[in-house]
Amino acid sequence: MKRILLQGGRVIDPGSNLDQTLDILIADGAIAEIGRDLQLDESAGISIQAEDWWIMPGAIDMHTHLREPGQEYKETILTGARAAAAGGFTSIACMANTRPVNDCAAVTRFICEQARQAPVNVFPIGSVTVGMKGKLMVEMEDMAAAGAVAFSEDGKTVENTKLYRHALEYAGSLNRPVICHCQDNYLFADGVVHEGEISSMYGFPGIPPMAEEIDIARCILLAEFLDLPVHIAHVSTQGAVALIARAKERGVRVTAEATPHHFTLDHRAVADLYYREDLEYAVRRQYACFNPNTKMSPPLREPEDVAAIKEGLRTGVIDVIATDHAPHEQTEKEVEYQYAPFGIVGLETALPLTLMLVRKGILTPMEMAERLSTAPAGILGLAKKGGLEVGMDADLTVVDPECRWVIDKEAFQSRSRNTPFDGWRVQGKAALTIVGGEVVHAADEQLASSLGIAAW
């Protein structure tokens, strides 16, 4: 394995509170040395000029849907991992709602096996109940041994609170967190957009914020009573942020994540954000168009909710930025809004959207590294990831914060194109993605070819 010397980058490590211009030497898949004026013999490896770039511990997306096994036409583990690499993520944790559900060690092992050819680390998350049917707990010990890093019924909630309690207790004994997708099914009902001005205006069935908040309150109470950790997935409301803040104040072991779309868009996008191909039509004709790539669960909320999410990220009430990358084929999304599946892809747009928060002064680069890497590594118990100290895994995200580019869904590595951000002019991208000491993605084509990175 060749050594890599990153020269003169802005090294940002939340774990050691480091933010300085330094060199980093990578050897044998680990961080070998951090310092000034490090030298590397040309024969021993390669040196990469990293001036103007930020070197962060590798971003970890603890919330993706990879669709394999079962729906490989939407995404495979390989295409999802390539999308991750292109987007600057060095590790991804994939949710259990595949077909079949990741509810037993055999499926977990299958995912790990498929992931061996993937350019980034893939950590499977097991379901909480068999088949995600909410009746029987999965064999957590067996699955944890096979590689499951957490358990989650994501996409659904576990309605039976007694069963949920026991799942938390069981997972707790295995040092595995439970990730909670919070939704009250009765309040959610047939809702497709946030219940508010837009649902009222256009007659869409609405999803009230309390559909999420009631279930978050339940999960917090469980965590508090049991003194065990829970992680709240994709927080989308002001009320939810307040519930989590209060719980943290009294010492409840609760962590939370927010997605880039929930801190970037509000529900007005449902009627105002067009497919590029619809834009001319809508503007010329002055009618609304409803882009199903604004449909996700939880839904896009009010501007006040977006502000609360940003504030939660700023203060650390929300620990993690995660994508909820949910690939769907174009034809599945290009249907009546109410019939379209929930979810959008996010791996290849998360970094520039997060950098918007940095440019607005909501997050420092250090806090961005914390939300994208250090915090998820801590929650998932990945001891050698999420930091830039000597001896840790050489998983690095090297960010070019200035680079201006236009998001083009056709250029995605992901097999799916369901993004509301197509055509957006953004700033900042992953210059390099380094996983286990190997450069798996380089934005600059010349650099990529000199490093011998195969084009996917």
Binding site: A189, E195, G196, E197, I198, S199, S200, M201, Y202, G203, F204, G206, P208, E277, D278, Y281, A282, R285, Q286, Y287, A288, C289, F290, T331, E334, V335, E336, Y337, Q338, Y339
Partner: protein
């Protein structure tokens, strides 16, 4: 023939139209009414044009009204209902419409259970698209026939007081009227059980929410009653039909609160004895059958303005 000046390719919603658009459609409809009273109810205006009525929801009134309107303008009208189409074979809406487009229709009239279905196809086909009802969003031709009926009885809209009573949240008729009436200067009051009121009524400027039907009816010129969907699955919206009729139904006693010359409207089909008593539905204030007659004229106007060739 007057020159066609309706500038839009489609009629998808009232929201987004201007006052002039509404007036143009109403004026055109008025001039068409006379055709339906002739012994030979047919003019050659849209001869050679093909109009497809694509109905994904059951409908008697609206579909037959569009069909008759098309035929009176000499267009060829084809009706497709979801139960007989390839929908049952799993074809997507866009594929169905692209196939229809290949047969070169001039206008597609679509009724669909989903919000925005007409918008979805309008951007992707050459045919002009008319929304005949999309989910709980809009039913523009219904609002226009309501407007025509009101105008015939009340001359103009400025300062007119209109009460809309019933299931507002799930009503596309209500939404189209809540956009149209304030645009023309009418004052709109709505009343509904709290379970059937949209959360954010402030999305509709110029519409006042009333706590009781009595408050809504006080001194109004026009009463619009909405249909209660008894077939709805969600049984949590109101306790019983009896209670609904007692609390919100329009009867002779409640109607007495309105102006003496108030008109009573209903988009149909009516649940007699539920949202409206038979005495009111068949009484002298009722203009419900005028609405149906005007429906044909309004739809002739819409088809003409979208499809007619300017001379």
């Amino acid at each position: 023939m007057k020159k066609r000046i309706f500038s839009r390719k489609d009629l998808l919603a009232i929201k987004g139209l201007h006052e002039d658009d509404l007036t143009l459609i109403l004026d055109t409809a008025e001039s068409f009414k006379e055709i339906s009273r002739r012994p030979i109810k047919k003019v050659p205006t849209l001869r050679g044009q093909t109009i497809i009525n694509l109905f994904y929801e059951p409908s008697t009134r609206t579909r037959s009204s569009f069909e008759i309107a098309a035929k009176r303008l000499s267009a060829d009208a084809i009706n497709i209902s979801a139960s007989t189409s390839s929908v049952v074979k799993g074809e997507t809406l866009l594929d169905t419409v692209k196939n229809l487009q290949a047969m070169a229709p001039d206008i597609i009239v679509i009724r669909h259970a989903c919000v925005g279905a007409p918008h979805l196809i309008a951007a992707r086909v050459d045919a002009r698209v008319v929304n005949a009802g999309d989910g709980a969003n809009e039913h523009p031709s219904q609002a226009l026939l309501d407007l025509l009926t009101i105008r015939e009885h009340k001359k103009n809209f400025a300062g007119l007081k209109v009460a809309i009573i019933g299931d507002i949240a799930h009503s596309r008729v209500a939404r189209s009227n809540m956009h149209a009436l304030p645009l023309l200067g009418a004052e709109v009051r709505v009343c509904s059980p709290p379970t059937m009121l949209p959360l954010r009524m402030d999305a509709f400027p110029g519409v006042r929410t009333c706590a009781s039907p009595e408050e809504a009816l006080e001194g109004v010129d026009v009463v619009m009653m909405l249909r209660i969907q008894l077939e709805r699955q969600d049984r949590t919206l109101f306790p019983s039909v009896n209670e609904y009729a007692r609390c919100y139904g329009l009867n002779v006693r409640r109607l007495a609160l309105a102006k003496k010359d108030a008109i009573v409207m209903h988009p149909g089909p009516m649940n007699r004895g539920v949202e409206i008593s038979s005495a009111v539905a068949d009484g002298k204030h009722s203009v419900i059958l005028d609405q149906v007659e005007n429906g044909v004229a309004v739809r002739m106007a819409i088809l003409y303005l979208l499809g007619g060739i300017a001379e």
